[in-house]
Amino acid sequence: MALFRAEGIQKRFGARVVLENITLSIEAGSVHGIMGPNGAGKTTCFHVLTGHHAPDAGRITFDGRDITGLKPHVIARLGVSRSFQMMNLFDDAVVIENVMLALPAFRAISGRPFRTSFGDSRLIEAALEVLDQVGLAERAWHNAKSLSYGDRRALEIAVALAAEPRILFLDEPTAGLGAKATQNLAQLIRRLRQRYTICLIEHDMRFLFELADRISVIHWGQVIAEGAPEALKANKWVARSALGEVA
């Protein structure tokens, strides 16, 4: 059964229809890729799926539960976590605090105004464990701002992981990364897929075809093709659309 489903999603901003009709079905334990040219509506699609925008039509279900139109924090608490294309970190805080803030155990005690935070070694250990998964444990006590671009990308994923998600939405995780860093990221995603269901937007087709079990191609706010990577390679529409030749 699909863990996450979106049916007939439509989203307009004023007169502009950004998402015409999106239907996606993400199987538990799979890596689901989303590709398409610039401006196709991929990020808007993520925004709608994770609650940032409410859809104008359609239905979204997660683990059998209707989550259409719920607030982002409610969806996040159910186990839907995401990273952002434009990085979204707590820049004034140290690396480990970024992760701690996202831990459900931290959130659970955050309502008590007099609890001390950093004395709790269990929270620190849990945060270090998450950082270890993305290879940032050694930088835990550095300022988030002082990290290199690639490390900030990794931290972005770590924050999403810390929320203990069941499904992870990654918006263009390779954006701006060099070849070496992209390789490292591919390895990270291979490790993560053993524990999480993953949905990722990606421009780098080689990266995506290597990792994804299934890919949806979005163009003009619609899913124009969907299937396993091998099947899509043969599809001339896909090749041309990904290159931005279909206008």
């Binding site: 982002p72 979204n88 004034d92 959130r107 005690i109």
Partner: protein, 338 residues
């Protein structure tokens, strides 16, 4: 740019020193304030405004929500205290409780309208609500006494068990206010360094991120506003006692601007103690510059302009960068076990 999060995440070392100094100064103030040419009532005013400014900074510096109408809650506290004494009964704790409750309630209602706004819209709404309360204070003659305000508000005695203290005596009243200010500072330190305060700071840094890791940002912003209004209410209640009156000017836009200016000059954006420095600096400027020239506000205003231009982090930021020039340890202390 340095920010509030440069405070070491663990309480203790960074706090004990300044707090000890703060308590020492508060505790010895009546001994030296007259000999240096100032007067005891100034100490009372400073302690009350420290309380107001520190509570305000929970919202302004820590949560990053810019309220320019906070004088309203100071005023509501003052009126509530006065009305309680005059209409219900003469009681210190009853009056202060009433002042806090009224301000909390007003803050909760206004906060509900504000909390899904941010930036300039948030700021404008705070001004608008501030003006609404000020207008009510001016026009509701029957309740607030209009422009004259409430006069002759008593200072009830402090009664603890068999111990009775006459607060009409300025020294006694100073001790009382100073003790409350010290307790409030202690409480605020705990709050901002608890997970609670860390979430508020996270919201200042990135509302969207906070939302997507599961925080109900609206509720947190509302809580921060309500809480800081409560502190303002307490300060207002004490202010009504100090002045033995409550009048519309307390809640005017002018007062609201003043508190912002104090917090900014002191460095509330970068340091927990910033508001304290700002308040002290303001009152010293008022009394010392004011003794020299009637145009002291002009000089103070210029000081503010220069501050914003060359050192936007305020006085506390100045100390901070001086310290950073010295050989320093990491600004964040790592727990031993990690």
């Amino acid at each position: 740019m340095i920010t509030l999060s440069d405070i070491p995440p663990r309480g203790g070392a960074g706090f004990a020193g300044p707090m000890a100094l703060f308590v020492l100064v508060l505790a010895t103030l009546p001994l030296w304030i007259a000999p240096i040419g100032l007067y005891e009532y100034l100490g009372i005013e400073i302690a009350i405004w420290i309380l107001f400014a520190m509570g305000f900074n929970l919202l302004f510096g820590y949560t990053g929500l810019h309220s320019f109408g906070h004088g309203a809650y100071l005023g509501i506290g003052a009126y509530a205290f006065g009305l309680f004494q005059q209409q219900v009964m003469v009681s210190l704790w009853g009056g202060l409780f009433c002042a806090i409750t009224a301000a909390l309630l007003a803050g909760a209602i206004v906060g509900a309208f504000l909390s899904h706004r941010r930036g300039i819209y948030y700021a404008l709404l705070t001004i608008a609500f501030g003006q609404v309360f000020w207008f009510c204070a001016m026009k509701l003659h029957g309740i607030t006494g209009g422009e004259d305000g409430l006069l002759g508000i008593p200072r009830p005695d402090l009664i603890i068990g068999a111990w009775r203290v006459d607060l009409n005596d300025n020294t006694n009243f100073y001790w009382f206010v100073a003790a409350i200010a010290a307790l409030a500072v202690l409480a605020l330190w705990r709050i901002v360094n608890a997970p609670f305060g860390r979430v508020l700071q996270a919201i200042r840094q990135n509302e969207t991120r906070a939302r997507f890791v599961g925080y109900d940002v609206w509720r947190w912003k509302w809580l921060a506003f309500t809480l800081s209004a409560g502190f303002a209410g307490l300060a207002g209640g004490l202010f009504a006692m100090a002045q033995q009156s409550a009048y519309p000017d307390v809640m005017s836009l002018h007062q609201s601007g003043l508190i912002v200016m104090m917090v900014l000059i002191g460095g509330g954006l970068v340091n927990f103690w910033g508001p304290v420095l700002g308040v002290v600096l303001y009152y010293i400027a008022r009394d010392i510059l004011g003794g020299l020239t009637e145009a002291w506000l002009l000089w103070y205003g210029l000081l503010f302009v220069i501050m914003v231009m060359v050192r936007p982090e305020g006085v506390a930021g100045l100390f901070h960068s001086l310290k950073q020039r010295l050989p320093r340890q990491a600004s964040v202390t790592k727990p031993e076990q990690a």
